[in-house]
């Protein structure tokens, strides 16, 4: 294989791959859009039950069309059959849910496996119908993308277009349904019908997806793109757009790659592509990805550590001098070590961090001294800490002897706006505030480990 061949395929220069790629990318976009609502409605498994329940419909439709003297493999006929039993499967799940006390997962598991088993049996039976070849019907189980012809493409495009139009037309209603069905219902929205419309949209995507990715994998096409998109955004509009895009990209890449290695099934490659995008999003997604969250956590830890170091130094300065104004004198490592509880290796690490941030400097004598900016920062941090302590004593009824620990947990999150509110609330605006409790090393050593 050459790069030219790869790029030719990705740029859709062959007529037959072009058709398939367009079809499947379009399908992916629609699946991403509709799948978002399926996911937000927390009905992903119902989609799976639906797709498995389409198989008997394919077999039955084949037999019916053959009996009527038509070609058993006409795509519209097969898809109608698939839709009917697919929806029947969903209705059965809903009926079991309503009439028995079985849990949802059990109801779906039963329907999914029974319908699928039934489908496999029916496919075997219709193979024996004389004069008709049922060969290839089992392609609906795993998908057979390469067999798409122009008339199939037109049918697929029309159904998908209708699906997208309907979804966009009732975007607001679907959002309301997914977020708060009870509220929607109390407002008079027919939630049952909205759920049925949503399932009909999912059915449309599913039966179209049968041909491309097969009924086992179609659920991945519905669910993976929206879950991946969710890692990047907290806004529904963006999530829908990203999900559709991820679906389309998975379809395009999946079909292209499988066209190059003709023995690789497209459905599997599409799902693997989507899964890779999902994995990437899970790690790097800016809104909820693991890495950005971890980095934010590290950042907070750094900030908390810095505040502990600076405040401790400042308190030592206060303790060792009397008389204003406070002078920025060097202090010994020992005093700092005894001043509060430090984790293992924490103090040297914080000092290193403080030096790199130019807050603290080491004297030739081995003593530590705040830099000018560090001194200002330390005074500010200490002041905020005491503001918060005073607030807790005054409004949260926390005893002065316990307040230091509680203040310790929250103060790192105080923004400028809250500090102003605290000042107003406590009627304090002077630049230094005395600690509401005694600061003695002995007491502080007994203090519990700071949580943040």
């Amino acid at each position: 294989m050459t790069w030219e061949l790869l790029s030719e395929t990705l740029r859709l220069e062959h007529y037959n791959t072009r058709l398939v790629v367009f079809g499947v990318a379009f399908l992916g976009a629609t699946a991403g859009l509709v799948g978002s609502f399926l996911l937000l409605r927390k009905q992903s498994l119902l989609g799976d039950a639906l797709s498995h329940a389409t198989l008997p419909g394919i077999g039955i439709a084949f037999a019916v069309m053959a009996a009527m003297g038509l070609s058993g493999k006409s795509l519209p006929g097969l898809l109608i059959g698939a839709s009917i039993t697919g929806l029947l499967g969903v209705l059965l799940v809903l009926a079991i849910r309503k009439t028995t006390r079985l849990k949802d997962d059990a109801a779906m598991g039963i329907v999914l496996s029974v319908f699928f088993g039934l489908g496999v049996a029916i496919l075997k039976m219709v193979e024996r119908i004389p004069g008709q070849s049922a060969a290839g019907l089992d392609g609906f189980i795993y998908g057979k993308t390469a067999s798409m012809i122009w008339s199939d493409f037109v049918l697929i495009a029309i159904i998908l277009l209708i699906t997208i139009i309907v979804t966009i037309a009732i975007l607001k209603e679907l959002t309301l349904l997914c977020f708060d069905a009870d509220f929607a219902s109390a407002q008079g929205w027919p939630t049952l019908w909205l759920d049925i419309i949503l399932m009909a949209l999912v059915t449309a995507v599913t039966v179209i997806g049968l041909q491309a990715v097969g009924l086992i994998l179609v659920i991945a096409f519905l669910i993976t793109p929206p879950t991946a998109a969710r890692f990047w955004t907290n806004r529904l509009g963006w999530m829908l757009f990203l999900s559709a895009t991820i679906g389309a990209i998975s379809g395009w890449l999946g079909v292209s790659i499988s066209a190059l290695y003709s023995n690789l099934p497209a459905g599997a490659i599409i799902v693997i592509t989507a899964a890779i995008i999902f994995l990437f999003s899970m790690i790097f997604g800016t809104a909820r990805g693991i890495l950005p969250r971890y980095l934010r956590h590290l950042q907070l830890q750094r900030k908390v550590g810095r505040q502990h170091l600076l405040r401790s130094t400042y308190e030592i300065l206060e303790n060792t001098q009397n008389g204003e104004p406070l002078k920025n004198l060097p202090i010994s490592m020992d005093l700092l070590r005894q001043h509060r509880y430090w984790g293992k290796g924490e103090l040297p690490r914080l000092i290193r961090q403080g030096r790199s941030e130019d807050h603290i400097e080491r004297q030739p004598s081995g003593e530590l001294r705040l830099s000018e900016s560090g001194f200002g920062e330390a005074s500010r941090i200490t002041r905020n800490h005491r503001l918060w302590e005073l607030y807790l004593i005054k409004y949260a009824d926390i005893a002065p002897t316990h307040v230091d620990r509680d203040a310790d947990m929250v103060e790192h999150l105080l923004g400028a706006e809250i500090v102003h509110q605290l000042e107003a609330e406590l009627d304090l605006s002077k630049s230094t505030i005395d600690s509401p409790h005694a600061i003695e090393p002995t007491e502080l050593e007994l203090q519990a480990r700071p949580t943040t």
Partner: protein
């Protein structure tokens, strides 16, 4: 029209029974909630307080009986009622902002297929202003505190400009400032002649918050103006033996009759 439930009552419930899986949760409820009251529904866990609200809103089927809103069935009077469900009833991880949630209160008037315009957003923003969190309008709802989430729900109800407000535990697990803000808003609605029906848990605040009271334990134990209804005897009947176990109830009873 039933003589015992004249149409001037914002909510009249007649012979209401609700059962889950044939196990009754509410028995023969008879109630008239007078106009302009700030009414509390109080009772122990599992007494059917939320169920009562939901049955009136047709969210769960009634086994028998009916609930009338100004003399007519609820489905003809939907726009008169705003509903605030329990906060835990929705997924706060949902990818929308506070403003989006409040805008949902305008959907009923907006109707099918219509897009949300600036006018709806403006109404929603004003409602957020009233509950004191308009600066958080763009924030994703999972990044709000419990009290702020409850305020969002309240704002969504305010946007509906209803006559009757159904609130399911609006004070559950909110901070003191939010509780104060909510009760002030409810009292303001009340002063404009709106009727508020509120499922409530905290007996200590009953006499301060509500001027009308429904004591419920699967059936209506007592209902009427708080000053007459909130008595030791009625509470004993409602809470049974459990009452003696609750320290704060004793405190609450001391407050009976105080303004």
């Amino acid at each position: 029209m039933r003589p015992e439930h004249p149409p001037e009552f914002p909510l009249a419930i007649h012979d209401l029974t609700v059962a889950y899986h044939r196990k009754p949760v509410l028995w023969d409820v008879e109630l008239n909630i007078p106009k302009g009251t700030l009414a509390g529904i109080v009772g122990p866990n599992g007494a059917g307080k939320s169920t009562l609200l939901k049955a009136c809103l047709d969210l769960i089927p009634k086994t028998s009986g009916e609930a009338l809103v100004y003399g007519k069935p609820y489905e003809q009077q939907r726009e008169l009622i705003a509903y605030v469900p329990q906060r835990e009833s929705v997924d706060w991880d949902f990818p929308i902002s506070a403003l989006d949630v409040v805008t949902m209160g305008t959907y009923q008037k907006l109707g099918w297929f219509k897009r949300i315009t600036r006018s709806q957003k403006q109404q929603a923003l004003e409602a957020l202003e009233k509950v004191g969190i308009s600066h958080l309008a763009k924030r994703q709802i999972s990044q709000l505190s419990g009290g702020q989430q409850q305020r969002v729900f309240l704002a969504r109800a305010l946007v509906q400009e209803a006559e009757i407000y159904f609130m399911d535990e609006p004070f559950a697990a909110v901070d003191a400032a939010t509780e104060q803000a909510i009760i002030e808003l409810l009292q303001e609605l009340n002063s404009k002649g709106k009727t508020v029906l509120c499922v409530h848990h905290d007996l200590a605040t009953v006499s301060r918050y509500f001027d009308y009271l429904v004591l419920l334990n699967m059936r209506v134990v007592a209902s009427g103006p708080t000053s007459e209804t909130f008595t030791r005897e009625n509470l004993q009947k409602t809470y049974g033996g459990k009452l003696n176990l609750l320290d704060d109830v004793a405190q609450a009873l001391k407050n009976v009759g105080r303004p």
